[in-house]
């Protein structure tokens, strides 16, 4: 009897194979490249009204992806990300006043926001979860109040963006569109690479069970700091695109809490904790916003209500519903466990 159980080979050595995706991802990469190429060619095909709407979409998608990294992976619910949107816009404005083209100022603004995020993290990281959330909000309000003190950059009323003189309107719209597209593609690519890296493994562990992650030796504090800096830079880049596309910077508009509301709602509706979620969420957001744009704030009210319902009853959002039925990942950031005998199994949290 005992000898018979001891010699069952399948029990002692489970034969599994670990891959990062269920099927060959080459076609996903190819499709992504084609989509980016088509989007890049778009200014030659469509009217500037369409690209202007798409620029808005790119801004929201970049913001939502950053917020997803913060809240969905690092567990940092920041409601003060508008601080970085505003700072990004003001970095571009200040550089433009000193004669640097806003398009050249954009990457500087992103890096600047990432640098500013460091001391801000030092301030707010003393507080946890809910109090962290309001502290980031207070911080955003404080930064706006400080910036409003400087009349040389427009004070409380803001000022138009200089540095576009001599640029034909069509060319300006196209450049703005390409800048927005580049920011979004880089943001998504960056997040994808981060999540596939060692940092991504720590973040996924925090997302699934923070206590377990910490007791396994994951440096959760460092991971959170890095995410806060990256999200600061990403939201700053989006803010810079916003300033360029609006052609003016007004403190109450760029530091508006609506930015955080939009990025949070888009992320939650699409599916928090996945790269695909914010993309779906942004699509839903843009459709609602464009449909209801003549009804003022209604799109935010409806989005907020939908986000509350999804957060309560379908936590994985719209992408979660797709995933449940089709089991697809557009971005292979997890790990799949394949039994060598037929049948596949998924590691928890991949």
């Amino acid at each position: 009897m005992t000898a018979a159980t001891a010699t069952t080979p399948a029990q002692s050595a489970p034969a599994v194979r670990v891959t990062r995706s269920q099927r060959n991802v080459a076609w996903t990469g190819a499709v992504a490249l084609i989509i980016v190429a088509v989007l890049g060619y778009l200014p030659y095909l469509v009217y500037s009204g369409t690209t202007t709407i798409l620029v808005q979409g790119f801004i929201v998608l970049t913001l939502a992806s950053m917020w997803n990294l913060l809240a969905g992976y690092a567990g940092l619910v920041s409601v003060g990300q508008q601080a970085f949107v505003g700072l990004g816009a003001y970095f571009v404005l200040i550089l433009a006043i000193h004669g640097i083209s806003p398009f050249a100022g954009l990457p500087v603004a992103a890096i600047g926001c990432g640098v500013v995020a460091l001391p801000l993290w030092w301030l707010v990281s003393r507080l946890r979860s809910g109090y962290f959330a309001i502290a980031t909000w207070v911080l955003a309000a404080t930064i706006m109040l400080i910036i409003e003190r400087f009349s040389s950059i427009g004070g409380g009323t803001g000022m138009p963006m200089p540095g576009f003189a001599g640029l034909a309107p069509t060319l300006l719209t196209a450049y703005t569109y390409w800048a927005a597209l580049a920011v979004t593609v880089l943001a998504l690519l960056g997040i994808y690479l981060i999540l596939r890296s060692r940092l991504g493994l720590v973040l996924t562990a925090i997302r699934d069970d923070e206590t377990a992650a910490r007791s396994s030796g994951a440096r959760t504090g460092l991971a959170r700091l890095l995410v806060f800096l990256i999200a600061g830079a990403g939201c700053g880049a989006a803010g810079a695109v916003l300033a360029i596309s609006q052609l003016q910077v007004q403190p109450s508009a760029v530091f508006s809490i609506s930015w955080t509301a939009e990025m949070a709602f888009a992320t939650i509706i699409g599916g928090i904790g996945t790269i695909e979620g914010p993309i779906i969420g942004t699509a839903v957001f843009m459709v609602l916003q464009q449909t209801l744009q003549s009804y003022n704030a209604w799109y935010l009210i409806i989005l907020g209500l939908v986000a509350i319902i999804i957060a309560l009853f379908a936590r994985r959002g719209l992408w979660g519903l797709v995933d449940d039925h089709l089991s697809v990942r557009l971005f292979p950031v997890g790990y799949w466990l394949h039994d060598i005998p037929p049948g596949t199994g998924q590691l928890p949290g991949s």
Binding site: R126, A133, I134, L300, G304, L312
Partner: protein
């Protein structure tokens, strides 16, 4: 003399901020909910008061008798449904839901009542009258009344939580929900009662702010929530009297800032808040039990 005046005015407005803060503090202390919709709910209470006064022509102060129970009932209902459901999911879900609620309320108010500012009881003697201390210091009766109300609310809450039977039950559930449940406490009902009390104080704060200043849809977050939070952090998380101290420190900082330059008022308050966060993150009165 102007500086003495600033300090006196600061102490008195501190009472108002403490009134804002105690509901936030209570909900976090008992069910670990950070009510991001706190300020917007205060504005809702103020708007309900304005509506009641407009429709029924009751005296302004009588509106409290209607609005406070209405908000308390709303608090109980919201806690038993939406907030409890969110709490059963996770801390993250609760935060997201409260933030969603805040934005939905704020934009809803904007949509239905426009961005116009509205005051409560603007021609009431209580709101307009003041008395003089010496030749330069003028003190509004309203601020004295609000300060007294804040002290009464905080004292009453402190007494209720530490001395009464039900207060002990609330503290038991707050300290260890599981153990309290094993001893037969209905934690959901207790949470509901705590939310009702918190929302009652929110109503007081909203109406008081409407009388002291002007209400508009964005006042809920721009002023009430952020000031309440600053008062809670300055005073020390989880301490009711610390909240009053925090409110007073915030009020004095704002008034001194305003004395330097009227546009520094809000900024000075936030800078003191950030300084406290750096120097003494546990707040001025640290209880050491909650973070």
């Amino acid at each position: 003399m102007a500086w003495v005046n600033a300090v006196i005015q600061g102490i008195l407005t501190g009472g108002l901020y403490a009134l804002f803060a105690c509901g936030l503090s209570l909900m976090f202390g008992v069910m670990k909910v950070v009510n991001l919709a706190h300020g917007d709910l205060a504005v809702v209470a103020g708007y309900i008061a304005i509506g009641i006064i407009f429709v029924t022509h009751v005296p302004v102060l009588w509106s409290f008798l209607i609005v406070v129970p209405v908000m308390a009932a709303l608090g109980y209902a919201l806690q038993r449904t939406v907030i409890q459901t969110a709490l059963n999911r996770s801390v993250l879900t609760t935060l997201i839901v409260m933030f969603g609620l805040s934005q939905v309320i704020e934009n809803g108010l904007l949509q239905f009542f426009s961005a116009n500012t509205r005051g409560i009881g603007a021609n009431l003697a209580l709101v307009t009258e003041s008395f003089n201390l010496g030749s330069q210091i003028q003190i509004a009766w309203l601020l004295i009344v609000i300060f007294a109300a804040a002290v009464a609310v905080l004292g009453g809450l402190q007494y209720f939580l530490s001395r009464s039977q039900y207060g002990r039950l609330i503290r038991a559930v707050a300290d260890d929900t599981e153990a309290a449940r094993l001893s037969g406490a209905d934690h959901r009902h207790v949470f509901g009662i705590a939310a009702a009390i918190a929302f009652g104080t929110v109503a007081l704060g909203g109406i008081a702010y409407g009388m002291y200043s002007q209400l508009d849809p964005t006042a809920g977050t721009d002023t009430i929530l952020l000031f309440a939070f600053a008062a809670v952090v300055i005073g020390g998380l989880g301490s009711l009297w610390g909240t009053l101290l925090g409110g007073i420190v915030l009020g004095i900082a704002q008034q001194i800032g305003a004395q330097l330059n009227i546009s520094y008022e809000t900024l000075a308050g936030y800078l003191v808040f950030l300084a406290i966060l750096v120097i003494r993150p546990q707040g001025l009165i640290a209880t050491g039990t909650q973070s």
